[in-house]
């Protein structure tokens, strides 16, 4: 019955129909072949097709593929029914053959029916590599769960608690004669819950803030009437954000509801039938964003945006159209490319590293940055600039190597579907953003990518581009130095080593959460745990800031050690990959030796726990004179006898005035 189809879309539809017939006839493997042929015609295959493929794979016991295609189904969009169908496949098979990046225990406590949200949240977390064991609180029992220290929620032992609440739960009157007092009282009701949870659990709290309803009896007057409920609810969202600081994460439901449309966010019928305060149409979006916030708290955000140039940052092809011929700044397309560049710069300002990967002559590509008056992004904003004729997957590997970050930290944006396909196939670790045809839609496409979500904003984030550029300059200096010692000295490094303090805790938590390579034990302590270490008299906790003649690298190393009788036992020692290979590790060991002596310890003990990424530090203790005293299953324990060997020293780094051993402990 099939006709010879020449149009690939029609051919795909034919293949899908044949697949359906074969599946109904029970010929699953042949059906799968047809479905896969149909999927090959699409860059992002439609959700229904992905689900059919996933189910065929499941029937054929290809469980890893079943999980992969179920996740592909949700990549096609935020359609609730698709998510509902994908959920059981994802739950059973997403981590059938690949290990999750992280495993967490998650409690979802709600003021409305959260069954659907829980299911979607598990799927959204799996999509970003997080396996979640989930406890769902009873309907509306979130206060009891938190305030009763013996509740089943505490028994479950969550790492994260999501407070999925809605504006109907706000105890704010329609009209208040003392709005400041009413808002303060309501804020206190929520922050007391946060404190109660914090005093009984180390879990990170993720609070949904309050989506204001579309309907507003006060009308526009509410916008200038501080005593009206809408005004107070908006005020409460702001105050809640201020109170949250770095201790509580917030999912901005008010923004999400506005983005989706408030009339879609809340559907009165579903509220009346089954107490859905977030309509099912909005649940996938809410789940995706909640998962992104949790992933950011886990340190899983991506670090670097790699940009194509022609038809991505400007319209046209510089090598053919020339500087005067490309579209940038004039006319609607030119304006759209400028808007895209400005959005990219805003990402850079919050700490995303920018790189360029373009098929061009290097000089042609650079000329646009140097000479085009409308260019918003400058060469100084780019940490790594690669314009050549090599395959892009190869160049992406080079960019990752030069910046000393993993391929799984890269996000690639390119208008060309062929390049995107090559990158997906050859370097699957890289996330690929699909740009639509119209440059006016580029900003929305990039903004819809959620793994640049970050859980704190630190001084280091603001200075990141400069630091990564400095790294490239240092690579050049190294090449021209006579000896490695000359090179170290020529860097004119200065370190400030100091105990933890409140200001640094978010940055410390960020490093603990995401450092993979120079990380001896990869223990992912939460911000709360770090705060407790800082208060523990048996704990030696150190941060190091480093600067050199090129840049201030900010806070780049963390060590946590515990005094156990006459041993100082290093629980955690990590260093940002930006400063590897310049004796910074010796500097930290020097300070640990000083602290050991100060605390009356005879021995410094270190542990190395191997992971897929920290092979580079397997021998670091041995290199500095530690002796291996025990090993099991790849983990090695090392000891350094301070009495016999004397303290470890490093002469290449000067100690800054404010830091070092003399600094008072916080």
């Amino acid at each position: 019955m099939s006709t010879e189809a020449t149009d690939p879309v029609a051919a795909a539809a034919d293949a899908m129909r044949r697949g359906d017939e074969l599946r109904q006839a029970g010929r699953i493997d042949q059906a799968l072949g047809q479905y896969l042929a149909a999927a090959a015609a699409h860059e992002v295959p439609p959700a229904a097709l992905c689900l059919k493929i996933a189910r065929c794979h499941e029937k054929l016991a290809n469980f890893a593929e079943a999980g992969r295609w179920a996740l592909a189904a949700i990549d096609a969009g935020d359609d609730f029914s698709t998510w509902q169908a994908a959920a059981p496949l994802v739950q059973k098979h997403a981590f059938a053959e690949r290990a999750p990046l992280r495993s967490i225990r998650l409690a979802v406590l709600g003021s409305y029916t959260t069954t659907q949200l829980v299911s979607a949240l598990r799927t959204a977390l799996a999509r970003v590599g997080v396996a979640a064991e989930i406890y769902e609180g009873n309907y509306g029992q979130y206060r009891q769960d938190i305030l009763d220290g013996g509740s089943a929620m505490y028994g479950f032992g969550p790492d994260f608690v999501v407070l999925a609440v809605h504006q109907g739960d706000l105890a704010l009157p329609q009209i208040s004669s003392d709005p400041a007092k009413d808002v303060a009282a309501e804020l206190d009701r929520w922050t007391s819950l946060w404190q109660a949870l914090g005093s009984r659990s180390k879990a990170r709290l993720v609070q949904h803030n309050f989506a204001l309803p579309a309907e507003n009896a006060m009308g526009h007057l509410a916008s200038r009437l501080p005593g009206s409920r809408p005004f107070m609810a908006a005020q409460l969202n702001l105050e809640m954000g201020r109170a949250a600081g770095n201790t509580v994460s917030i999912v901005d439901c008010e923004r999400l509801s506005a983005m989706l449309g408030k009339q879609r966010w809340f559907d009165a019928r579903y509220w009346h039938i089954s107490k859905q305060a977030v309509s099912l149409a909005a649940v996938p979006l809410l789940a995706r964003h909640t998962a992104a916030v949790i992933a950011a708290d886990l340190g899983l955000s991506r670090k670097c945006l790699v940009l194509d140039l022609d038809n991505t940052l400007w319209g046209g092809i510089i090598g053919e159209d020339g500087l005067a011929g490309i579209k940038l700044g004039n006319g609607p397309d030119g304006e759209a490319y400028i808007a895209f560049q400005e959005h990219i710069l805003r990402l850079a300002q919050k700490g995303v590293i920018l790189a360029v990967c373009s098929k061009n002559n290097d000089a042609d590509a650079r000329e646009v940055f140097e000479k085009h008056p409308e260019m918003r992004i400058k060469l100084d904003d780019i940490a790594c600039f690669v314009a050549n004729w090599q395959p892009k997957p190869e160049n992406l590997r080079n960019i990752a190597r030069q910046l000393n970050i993993g391929l799984d930290s890269l996000v690639f944006v390119d208008d060309n579907p062929v390049e995107r396909a090559a990158v997906r196939q050859m370097t699957p670790e890289v996330d690929v953003i699909v740009l639509p045809r119209d440059p006016a839609q580029y900003v929305a496409a990039l903004a819809g990518y959620l793994m640049f979500e970050t859980s704190a904003y630190t001084a280091e984030d603001a200075a990141r581009a400069e630091q990564y550029r400095a790294r490239a300059q240092i690579a050049q200096l190294q090449a021209t130095s006579a000896s490695i010692e000359d090179f170290y000295r020529s860097l004119q490094m200065k370190a400030v080593v100091a105990p933890f303090n409140d200001v640094d805790l978010p940055r410390i938590a960020q490093l603990v959460g995401k450092t993979n390579q120079f990380n001896l034990t990869t223990r992912r302590h939460t911000l709360e745990q770090l705060r407790q270490f800082a208060a523990d008299p048996a704990c030696v906790h150190l941060t190091m800031r480093l600067s050199d003649r090129f840049a201030d690298h900010g806070l780049i190393s963390v060590a946590i050690a515990f005094v156990r009788e006459d041993v100082l036992d290093i629980d955690t020692w990590l260093m940002s990959c930006r400063v590897i290979g310049r004796t910074v590790e010796a500097e930290m060991l020097k300070h640990l030796c000083m602290w050991a002596a100060e605390r009356g310890c005879r021995v410094l003990r270190g542990t190395y726990i191997p992971t897929a990424k920290n092979g580079m530090v397997a021998e670091v203790y041995g290199k500095y004179g530690f002796t291996q005293v025990a090993h099991s299953a790849g983990t090695t324990i090392w000891e350094y006898d301070l009495g016999a060997k004397g303290p470890i020293n490093n002469t290449f780094i000067q100690n800054g005035v404010a830091g070092g051993f003399t600094h008072e402990r916080a």
Binding site: F80, S81, I273
Partner: protein, 76 residues
């Protein structure tokens, strides 16, 4: 695709089971796992698939699949 076939696809997605076959006589009692949550998910799935909106109590009051099909056909 007929209304009944499209409905079957919605049921497959909601119940995660592509073996489900519907007839005019099918009721909630015939489908394992048809609880209050599945009921809501089904209502939403049907609304999306057919671009319709049920009144708050309309869907719950349908006696069987046949009545649902006739309701949907009247709105094509």
């Amino acid at each position: 695709m007929s209304v009944l076939e499209r409905l079957e696809q919605v049921f497959h997605n909601v119940f995660g089971n592509d073996q489900i076959r519907l007839t005019d006589q099918t009721t909630a009692a015939d489908i394992p796992g048809w609880d209050s949550v599945a009921h809501i998910n089904l209502m939403f799935g049907i609304e999306q698939e057919f671009g319709v909106q049920f009144g708050s109590s309309e869907f719950a009051e349908m006696a069987n699949v046949g009545q649902l099909v006739r309701w949907l056909e009247a709105r094509r």
